[in-house]
């Protein structure tokens, strides 16, 4: 059974002038158990909107979403129990301590009272927050609040963990910490779906990706396969002087250039090095980066 099945889902928002706008447009996607999926795309692509519909916060205008075979609208109480969600926005309680926040929130997922304290302690240790247990949640730093949000999402041991931009605004060492925990949960059998607009991060982490842009799913599948497909038969290079006369057949892809392999790799490499010579900053024929793939698919940048 698929942990998540999204079937032709659309979401229409109305702006203040009453104009309609499709934030998610006919997306279909299945997620297999035990994997790590990255839902990738620039800001405003519709990632959070899709996540919110999966989480039962927002009703789709069209299509259906199933979590472990249950409809997220009709069976929302059951589906909400099966997933853990880390929303994009950081929110904290004003009056409660870290422990209190976790104690009541896990209770709202049915974690028995006598088990809560032990689980809270273990999760806080994993997230390096144990010494903040009795601190008021609102006094935590931004990174700590983010980790508290992660803790809230995993205390009831969800089968599918959904994280919306879990590493936004979190420094590098802390990201590693969050990812180490997510990898461990995944190794223990939790399926992971996360969104990010940092493509390099996704490249390191996920086995499967889904690329979205302007509400459309533009590509999905195994990361390796997609990279294979896009790096077949071409060489990528960077130049110091971008005004230099290009070799015929070379195309510009973001900061990089691409040259399709016509005869064989060695001959074409030689052709490029002799043409550009000392102007070459880097050259490679390895797998295409996600950044590169995204640019090819959308002809646009991600740096919006």
């Amino acid at each position: 059974m698929f942990p998540l099945r999204i079937n032709n889902v659309s979401k229409i928002f109305k702006n203040s002038k009453g104009q309609e706008f499709k934030a998610v447009d006919g997306i279909s996607l299945n997620i297999e158990p035990g994997k790590i999926y990255g839902l990738l795309g620039p800001n405003g692509a519709g990632k959070s909107t899709l996540i919110n519909m999966i989480s039962g916060l927002l009703l789709p205008n069209q299509g259906g979403i199933e979590l472990f075979g249950l409809d997220v609208v009709k069976d929302s109480n059951k589906t909400k129990q099966l997933i853990g969600v880390v929303p994009q926005e950081i929110v904290v309680e004003m009056a409660f301590t870290v422990e209190e926040v976790l104690y009541y929130f896990s209770g709202m997922y049915g974690v028995p009272r006598h088990e809560r304290k032990a689980r809270i302690k273990a999760v806080l240790e994993d997230l390096d927050l144990a010494d903040k247990m009795h601190e008021r949640a609102r006094n935590l730093s931004g990174g700590m609040k983010r980790r508290l949000m992660v803790a809230k999402a995993i205390l009831h041991r969800p089968k599918l963990l959904i994280l919306d931009e879990p590493t936004a605004g979190v420094d590098v060492s802390l990201r590693q910490r969050i990812w180490a925990l997510i990898r461990r949960l995944n190794a223990e059998g939790t399926t992971i779906l996360f969104t990010t607009h940092y493509l390099e991060e996704a490249e390191q982490l996920c086995e499967y990706i889904a690329l979205v842009d302007h509400g459309h799913l533009i590509k999905s599948g195994k990361l390796k396969d997609i990279q294979q497909e896009f790096s077949k038969n071409s060489i990528h290079f960077e130049l110091f002087d971008r005004t230099a006369a290009p070799l015929t057949g070379v195309s510009e892809v973001g900061v990089e250039y691409e040259y399709p392999i016509t005869s064989d790799l060695a001959t074409d490499m030689a052709k490029l090095t002799s043409h550009y010579n000392h102007n070459l900053k880097s050259i490679r024929s390895e797998a295409a980066s996600l950044e590169h793939i995204f640019l090819k698919l959308t002809n646009s940048g991600l740096s919006s």
Partner: protein
């Protein structure tokens, strides 16, 4: 799964326990001040067989339950909306109607705690006031009033977009309804048409029924008041359901 709902209830009870100074002293100070003033001004006056002070006192206690059970959920929810914490309610596997019930129960709990504190601190200053005349009705009155205005508070809390909206409703709807509900005088003493209009004020019936349960004195038939309370409870329950659902699952 009722345990999920009870955890939410426990959280909301914890929330007002955290501000225990307010919870404890607010009722004592409110009732104490009113009593001080009315005790001096009205000493020796009677309404029927009832000393005027007892009349006002029982009205004040009912007002206290109404105020507390109304403001507890409405403020908690408007704050949650403004801080974004409402997402906790949206994510958790608790049906919208149970979310409403959990908040209303917490509100009722606050109303009862407040009442007990005020009673313990001030009943000694009311000469001749003993245990409630009709204990069963008294429990009814307490429970129904707390839940009724708890539900109204939940509905307001979900309805109000911000504090201005909430304050507006409190100042221009709730306060006038409470003050025109016969806390300080029997509504029958009002010139018409106000005496008739007051009969349509839901709060009047809560105060009347509570006072009847406590002292045996009633402006109008207590059964009518009880029926009106049940009727409005039903209306507030429906309003609470609709507004809760609308705010938990967004369109």
């Amino acid at each position: 799964m009722y345990s999920n709902m009870w955890a939410l209830y426990a959280r909301e009870v914890k929330r007002f326990q955290k501000i225990w100074i307010d919870t404890v002293f607010n009722p004592i100070v409110t009732v104490g001040l009113y009593l001080g003033v009315f005790g001096v001004v009205t000493s020796g006056q009677q309404i029927g067989d009832l000393p005027y002070l007892t009349f006002v006192y029982t009205g004040l206690l009912a007002m206290l339950i109404i105020n507390n059970s109304f403001s507890n959920p409405s403020f908690a929810l408007v704050i949650a909306k403004n801080l974004g914490n409402i997402v906790d309610l949206q994510l958790a596997p608790i049906a919208p109607w149970r979310i409403g019930v959990a908040y209303a129960m917490a509100a009722f709990t606050r109303g009862v705690i407040t009442l007990c504190i005020a009673l313990l601190a001030t009943v000694w200053f009311i000469p001749g006031l003993g245990l409630p005349e009709h204990p069963l009705y008294f429990i009814f009155a307490l429970f129904l009033t707390g839940i009724e205005f708890g539900m109204l508070g939940v509905a307001f809390g979900f309805w109000a977009k911000n504090f201005e909206a909430l304050t507006f409703m409190s100042t221009f709807v709730m306060q006038p309804m409470i003050f025109l509900a016969g806390v300080f005088y029997p509504v029958a003493n009002l010139p018409s048409p106000w005496s008739t209009i007051s009969l349509f004020n839901p709060v009047h019936h809560n105060i009347n029924f509570f006072r009847y349960a406590f002292t045996g004195y009633s402006d109008i038939s207590p059964i009518i008041s009880l029926l009106v309370i049940l009727g409005f409870s039903f209306v507030f329950f429906v309003a609470m359901q609709i507004l809760t659902k609308k705010n938990i699952v967004l369109k």
